[in-house]
Amino acid sequence: MGTVSSSLTSPVTVYSGSSGSAGSSGSTSPTGLFTGTSAYSADLQAVITRAVQIATLPIELLQNQQSFLTGQSNAQTALDTDFSALQTAVQNIGTAMSGGSFQTDISDPTIVGATLGDGATQGVYAIDVQDIGAYATSMTPSSWNATETVAGKPDAFQLVVGANTYSITGTDDSAGSVAAAINARYGNLVDATVVNVGSSSAPDNRISLQSATLGPMTLDIKNAAGTSLQTQGATPGRLASYEIDNSGKVVTSNSRTVTVSDGVELTMLASDNGTPADVTVTQSPSALDSAMSTFAAKYNQAVKDVAAQRGQSAGALQATPILTELQRSLSAISTYSSSGAISGLNDLGLQLNDDGSLTYTEGTLLSADIGNSSAVTAFMGSATTGGFLEAAANALTNIEDPTVGLLKNAETTTQTQIADIGAQIAAKQAQVTQLQTNLTSQMAAADSMISMVQQQYQEISGMFAAMQVEDQMYATG
């Protein structure tokens, strides 16, 4: 934002005229008077003051424009804060609906763990972990002693994972280097590590391979000659096996983390010896209610601040098109409707009042969700899959998007205008200062000249008077 020198907002500077030295620019007078030595110094000051006042008029106009735009900018920033908070509140509803407000209760946390995500619903999942499975392994049968065929040039080894063979080359042929090369390139398939199965005084370093997935798998490292360097694990890998909800159907998996329902992932930690573990998923009423209450509060703040810009004693954005757009977006959010069993926000406890604000009744959404979860899910949707959350998110993105959002663009445009006017004011200010300097210089010269003429006149007048006195004295003898 441009700034204006305080000298332009204060009364026009008054200079003291010279006391006889033509061309000098004079100095500021603390009395505010052009204290020239001529009898016309006050007139000369009046000329300067008048000229500077006229020259300053365009600056005052620009200052008024700048002040108005600054007011608009402040109002836009305040609205931006409101709508940004509303956007966050909508996102938080989505988070609460998609698992953030769910919690799990596990009868035996040593058997299974749970992670909830999008689509999770309340319920009890009984999992009978019959076998958590085992990863296939292999290990060098004796100390790793591969040496480079050509000194300084590491050999290429073959990594065998199941039916596939991959070429690997470390920075050298040491166990650590080969294991690091395996992890770097094929860590998604197999994990390699160097294990000292001896003692610290008599180390026996070997490479241990472990499959990334459960189940039987051949894991090997072969040298350039094709010789196997690993021994397969004495106990082969096994798939994990489990049964859900006493269904009688045992399922196998090559991972210990399994999805038992949309948004519900269970991680098997140990076999349960025939006693299933119960995972109870419940929705936290406080989290969902809190998200809805916050949404209503943020919405109401936005409505209030938009309304404050309209009507009598309106704010700086009065009659600007963006107000209409903001109002339209707010209305689109609060009046969103659907053809499903849940038709509007009112069914979820958000009542639209006559003044455009929302009132949230705690517990309504949770009750609706328990009673007809699918209808609530269909109405709410998500930020990307339709429903209220997508509609609200889109409406707020149109306002808050950093590059194309209405408010963001308006803020940028206003700031640019303020900066332009600031530059214009600075240029005008320089012109007025120059004008003032020139005029003061001219007036000082004029005052000096007049002063000199007055002085000469007084001398001549004095001489004339003396001559008259002498003539009279001569005539009277």
Partner: protein
């Protein structure tokens, strides 16, 4: 691969699966039965060799498992330094044991 022994196979399966707590309990039970055999005079040198082999296998397997786990922990710590995405959203769930 050693012959399958119905009494030691559960120990091997538990160790191979990383269920070391369970393996320890099975070992204690197995060791108790071996002690009973020694006292009754039915324990053989072949059984002693098999037990030694099983103990050595458990030791090496446990060492390997610990080394693999340590390697994963190290990589997780390094990945966290670089802001790698978490595998799962832990904050999305709260787990509590049923009283």
């Amino acid at each position: 691969m050693p012959p399958v022994d119905a009494r030691t196979e559960p120990i091997r399966r538990a160790v191979a699966s990383g269920e070391f707590g369970k393996a320890q309990a099975l070992w204690e039970d197995y060791a108790g039965r071996l002690a009973e055999e020694v006292r009754s005079g039915t324990f053989s040198s072949a059984k002693l060799e098999a037990t030694r082999e099983l103990a050595e296998w458990c030791r090496v397997t446990a060492l390997c498992a610990r080394s693999h786990a340590q390697g994963r922990l190290n990589r997780m710590a390094i990945a966290r330094q670089y802001g790698a995405p978490c595998a799962a959203s832990a904050s999305a769930s709260r787990i509590s044991a049923r009283a």
